[in-house]
Amino acid sequence: MPLHVITANDTEAGHPAYLTGRGDWSRALAEARVFEDEAQRDQALALAKTDQARVADPYVIDVAWDSGGQLAATSLRERIRAEGPTVALVSNPSV
């Protein structure tokens, strides 16, 4: 099975959130729990969907370990979501 992570958006702030091995949510994809087992993944997703006060719309994304040993989302959409816009903000061109 490909590697999976469960993600959602933080209810209060709207930022991406990733389900960790501790069962809480982190802003960092690097801290996400990686699922290799389909049943465990589905069970965790079902539980995550009950955590409505903290997050909105949990779902599963594909991930892989990159050549540097870092966890990375497979799709461009999820990479941008994890790392932020690829363009500098007009209010802060250095970012």
């Binding site: 209060e12 006060a53 690829t86 903000l89």
Partner: protein, 555 residues
């Protein structure tokens, strides 16, 4: 401009209170995201890739300087110091926190603004010609009618849950449509059938998105007294028969195509007959009540400035001269001009503007205008009432804030949706492509290419209006790689046309080269520099462009 009356104030204040309670229930977990989503959308709040996005309504694009300052204040206090003007004359914030939303709405309400009906399947913000009220070529200022439509549409109980969103645009100019009325669900043109006999030509069933369709005239003359009842009849027919089983076929354009314009018109007329003499009759007193809010400001009596402005276009200060060429528009009052403020600084995201820049524009509007600013659907701003004698001052002030790029109407004045950098619907990025294109061409190249529009959408929903760009780009995802489909020949104006796909989609790395080859092919084939890109394309057809682009970038 329009000032809220007691009813406006009350309904907006009530909405703030209601939403404050709903947000509290969501944050406590009492209601789920599924339950909350339709509520937040009714208040203009989306959940995007990185945060909540708030869309603030700017009716027909018109803002007071105080309103623009409030938008700046909210950007600084609750967002990341900037806002994004959209392609429907609205402003969007990309980094909003749900917990802040009630306070943001309260602050907006304090300056007579809100986010009501900026999302969801309802009648959205009514848009209009950004030169309304000052255009030399208009028959009548369309803003009083736009405001009357806004009031009719706001919280209209019958139309709160339409099959799909619904967009209305108006123009008061007999030609040179700057509001893209032919590609809206309803487009309204003020027309004069005989001297003094004004009414409305109503277009219906236009739209972009997945199925781009040019609207059709459903009635060539609707008297003013009947406008609201006629609009209501159209909406009723749509609400009754518009498809609800498939969101991609739910817009009114699909219904009009399915019924045919003759049958659609027949049904609208039948409905209209039932209601035209009822409570929606628009009497003169009501029109005058609203029109009074749009009385011309206290213009000074000034000599004509046409010759003077023409002279400034030849100023030895080449930067200033070029800016005057691209940014200064004739005004109906002698001695005044309208100034187009470019929000397309090369290298910056199109339509993005910092809080400091907003405040600078607001201050300029106070200093040299009548404290009014207009947002355009092309993601720029307008200072509508500038004495021509103040042009140097305005240019210097704008330049000091990075807002004097001499590129309005050029290949660098690109419309772009937020794309995959922000939007959950997008398949590809729009902003970086727009930035790369804008940085490719220097002022000399832009002058050589002349008036040409480039519009970019990151997905088929077409928020970047790519179908009606002279050059359109549609981002697509090809096995995880960003590609761009190139369309040529589109226009949103009197010569309305949907662009034609030139050939296979082009990889992101090659797309700017392809655009440059399209523009150089135009220069090669035009009869003179007075023949526009669109005219050349229509005369010679796609073949030379296709040969040029695909000889270099085989699919």
């Amino acid at each position: 401009m329009y000032k809220y009356d007691d009813i406006d104030e009350r309904i907006v204040a009530e909405r703030v209170t209601q939403f404050r309670e709903q947000v509290a229930r969501r944050l406590s977990g009492e209601i789920s995201e599924d339950e909350f989503k339709p509520i937040r959308l009714q208040n203009g709040l989306y959940l995007q890739l990185h945060a909540y996005m708030l869309r603030v309504s700017i009716p027909y694009g018109l803002m007071s300087s105080d309103q623009l300052r409030m938008l700046a204040s909210i950007a600084r206090r609750y967002d990341r110091g900037y806002g994004h003007f959209s392609t429907r004359q609205n402003l969007q914030y990309n980094w909003i926190r749900l917990v802040d939303m009630p306070d943001i709405l309260a602050q907006l309400a304090s300056v007579e603004m809100h986010a009501i009906q900026t999302s969801g399947n309802c009648i959205r913000n009514v848009t209009a010609d950004h030169l309304a009220g000052v255009a030399r070529d208009e028959i009548e200022d369309p803003r009083p009618i736009a405001e009357i439509i806004r009031q009719w549409a706001t919280f209209h109980p019958e139309f709160a849950f339409l099959p799909r969103k619904f967009k209305i645009a108006l123009t008061g100019a007999p030609s040179n449509d700057r509001a893209a009325v032919r590609v809206h669900d309803i487009g309204i043109r003020i027309v004069e059938r005989a001297p003094g006999q004004r009414g409305f030509e109503i277009w219906v069933g236009g739209g972009l998105g997945r199925t781009p369709i040019i609207g059709e005239v459903v009635r060539d003359f609707v008297p003013r007294r009947d406008l609201l009842s006629y609009l209501e009849a159209i909406l009723r027919v749509y609400n009754r028969w518009g498809r609800r089983d498939n969101k991609f076929k739910a817009r009114i354009k699909i219904l009009v195509q399915a019924l045919g314009i003759a049958e659609f018109r027949k049904q609208v007329d039948a409905e209209w007959e039932l209601i035209k003499d009822g409570e929606l009759v628009l009497d003169d007193a009501e029109v005058e009540r609203v029109r009074a809010h749009f009385s011309p400001p206290a213009y000074e009596t000034l000599p004509s400035c046409d010759a003077g402005v023409a002279g400034k276009r030849l100023s030895p200060n080449r930067d200033f001269a070029r800016w005057v060429q691209t940014s200064v528009v004739a005004h109906k009052i002698p001695g005044y001009v309208a100034v187009l403020v470019s929000l397309k600084t090369p290298g910056a995201p199109p339509g993005d503007v910092t809080a400091e820049q907003m405040e600078a524009v607001a201050a300029l509007a106070d200093e040299v205008g009548f404290s009014q600013i207009v947002a355009t659907h092309t993601q720029n701003l307008v200072l509508p009432d500038v004495p021509a004698t103040k042009l140097e001052l305005v240019w210097e002030r704008l330049r000091a804030k990075g807002l004097a790029a001499p590129n309005v109407g050029t290949a660098a004045d690109i419309i772009a949706c937020p794309g995959l950098d922000y939007c959950t619907l997008a398949n590809a990025r729009s902003i970086p492509v727009a930035q790369r294109i804008a940085l490719r061409f220097d002022d000399e190249a832009l002058a050589r290419y002349g008036d040409v529009s480039i519009k970019i959408s990151g997905c088929i929903n077409a928020c970047g209006h790519h179908h009606v760009g002279n050059i359109g780009l549609l981002g697509i995802d090809k096995s995880g790689e960003e590609f761009y489909q190139l369309t040529l020949g589109g226009s949103p104006s009197d010569d309305v046309a949907i662009g034609k796909i030139l050939g296979p989609a082009i990889a992101s790395a090659d797309i700017v080269d392809a655009i440059e080859r399209v523009l150089e092919t135009y220069v090669e084939f035009r009869t003179s520099d007075r023949e526009s890109f669109l005219e050349t394309y229509r005369r010679v057809g796609p073949t030379p462009f296709k040969e040029s682009v695909y000889a270099t970038h085989p699919a």
